[in-house]
Symmetry: C2
Subunit: 366 residues, 2 copies
């Protein structure tokens, strides 16, 4: 019988509460197939700063290295807000993990159920059937890690700071492969977003992506869009996209814009896939909700656990090859929401239930 070995990093705020639900749902969903969960928890983020002095302790990294995947909660909160930007929990935890495991592909479903269109800031008539797109973001290249990245004093005494955006062919091709695979399982359309009228990296991006799709995936429909236009089109008519696909910095901005347009952060999951294969012959990956630690409601038992549960489902699909069980979890959540079983963030006047009750409702529907 199969054993799933993964690291559990709940983090701060609502992280531990919703992680708890995700583990229960994963347990319930996999048990009928005789699957055993073997997970180890470790500190990350603000709590790790408090307990170990750093947001990503070596001991936590070791737990991750001994696992086939990472289920991540969320990190940060008012307590650590006054740290310098680069020492804040989210940044100080996530960037080193991404680098350590070469998590180059961020996959974010932009999913809004028809029943939840009230949650979107967009007029209902623009998204009558909800939203169903995916954003693929390159996650280890570009201006995040390029060198030089430094500040120096000029002769006249002023300071000058420099960041470097770098991409090479192979980095672009491997993320294009993820975009292509994603589109194959969906609407077969990829829109690659760049700024090829201004950036050299975007010229290379566009050329590489075009050649890659022509050669390897001629059956897919590939289009190109400038990033400023993409920011407009997302807000105007998100469903014009099937798979949106872009570099690191643009993806940071566009995937967050997409998340807000999809209404409830409490429903948004994500996968960050690595280059390495794990013990199951699948990509090692980190799975986390797109939303934050919601310090205002932490500890009250009212947080929406769906994003964390859906992140767990993505883990089953991508890192353990258990797409069928992932499908079942996703269907259970959809069914609960459609039957007006909802936490406060998505209740809209309907009765709001708590985190644990939501957990039970999901498990009941598996």
């Amino acid at each position: 019988s199969k054993t799933l070995k993964f690291a559990v990093l709940p983090g701060d705020g609502i992280g531990p509460e919703v992680m708890n639900v995700a583990l229960k749902v994963l347990e319930a969903a996999t048990k009928p197939s005789g699957i055993t969960l073997e997970y180890e928890s470790a500190d990350v983020g603000g709590i790790a700063i408090d307990n170990h002095g750093v947001a990503l302790p070596d001991s936590t990294l070791d737990v991750c290295k001994a696992s086939d995947a990472i289920l991540f909660g969320s990190v940060g909160g008012p307590k650590w807000e006054n740290l310098p930007p680069k020492e804040q929990p989210e940044r100080a935890a996530l960037l080193p993990i991404r680098k350590a495991f070469s998590l180059f592909a961020n996959v974010r479903p932009g999913l809004l159920f028809k029943e939840l269109v009230d949650a979107s800031p967009l007029k209902t008539e623009r998204i009558p059937d909800g939203i169903d797109i995916v954003c693929i973001r390159e996650l280890t290249g570009g201006i995040y890690f390029g060198q030089p990245k430094e500040t120096r004093e000029l002769e006249n005494g002023e300071l000058e700071a420099i960041d470097t955006m770098v991409y090479k062919t192979s980095e672009i091709e491997r993320i294009a492969e993820v975009a292509a695979q994603t589109a194959l399982g969906r609407g077969k359309r990829v829109c690659s977003v760049d700024k090829a009228n201004v950036l050299e990296t975007s010229v290379l991006w566009r050329k590489t992506v075009t050649a890659f799709f022509e050669e390897k995936y001629p059956e897919l429909e590939l289009s190109h869009m400038y990033v400023d236009n993409a920011a407009m089109q997302l807000a105007r008519d998100p469903n014009q996209f099937d798979v949106l696909f872009t570099e690191n910095m643009f993806g940071d901005i566009l995937s967050d814009e997409m998340a807000v347009i999809c209404g409830s952060m409490g429903m948004m999951s994500s996968a960050s896939l690595g280059t390495a294969k794990n013990g199951h012959g699948q990509p090692f990956g980190l799975y986390e909700p797109a939303g934050g630690t919601a310090p205002d409601i932490a500890g009250q038992g009212v947080a929406n656990p769906c994003a964390q549960v859906l992140s767990g489902a993505m883990m089953l699909r991508f890192s353990f090859g258990l797409g069928d069980i992932a499908d079942r979890i996703e269907a259970a959540i959809k069914s609960a929401v459609q039957n007006d079983i909802r936490t406060g963030d998505i209740a809209f006047g309907k009765k709001a239930i708590g985190t644990e009750a939501m957990c039970d409702a999901i498990i009941e529907r598996l």
Copy 2:
């Protein structure tokens, strides 16, 4: 009596039609004060490629240099769409003009009249009174012009491309001054947008802006926001901002997202202010609608001329010190729209009138 000397670059598509209206309105608005308009027209964009082989001919630059401001239409269209990205009319015309005149400050009102909330993709309950914010974008620095900017072959035969984002203290301070001045004339709040948790340039940006406001404008309320969060907040609740203020690349994305959220491109104007003072002791500037050439409706006499007229009003205010006449033009447009005098793009079931009729309605109300 005063003479206003400016360059008129109508460009392509609806550019010439709406420019025509702007000139008529400027004429009518300034004549009562004994002001003379002395403008010279020149080719720019696609039409310049066709007539002169380049999007920004030297002869056009000369006309601009002999002027105190540039009134710009819009450029581009299907005819030139298959040119390489960097040779496309918009890019090939705008970047060199910005560089030639050091147009470092892009000022974009994000204005949506209460009467036009139907035009916004946002739910009406989120913007019950319309939208009224301003985006200030740094326009000559950052990753647009930083060196090195090149593609090279690696030893293993792959290509690697590089762009460089650079900012120095003085560049940040001069755009901070524009943001501060804008806020002084409005709600006295500036939100500076950066990515200080990842970028060195953003760390310098945040430090410089903070020190600048503390020293020179302690009466203004300054806040900081990460760019990914700003993309979310704009789509969620745009009126939380008063003045949004950011670097070149982020401003490209956010100002376009803002424009779409404000509903009608046909109403969105902009100013790009230079470092040099003109013959009136005011900043030299380029004034243009935020929207494009709308090739689908060009030549039909139905385009909305308001964005071009409002850009002309900004020219009067910023480059000629005629804020009172600018106010009058803006009020005339507001009054027309409020009285349901509208072109097709903003009619929403009300009667739609043509470009010329809109022109007459504005002039009537001056």
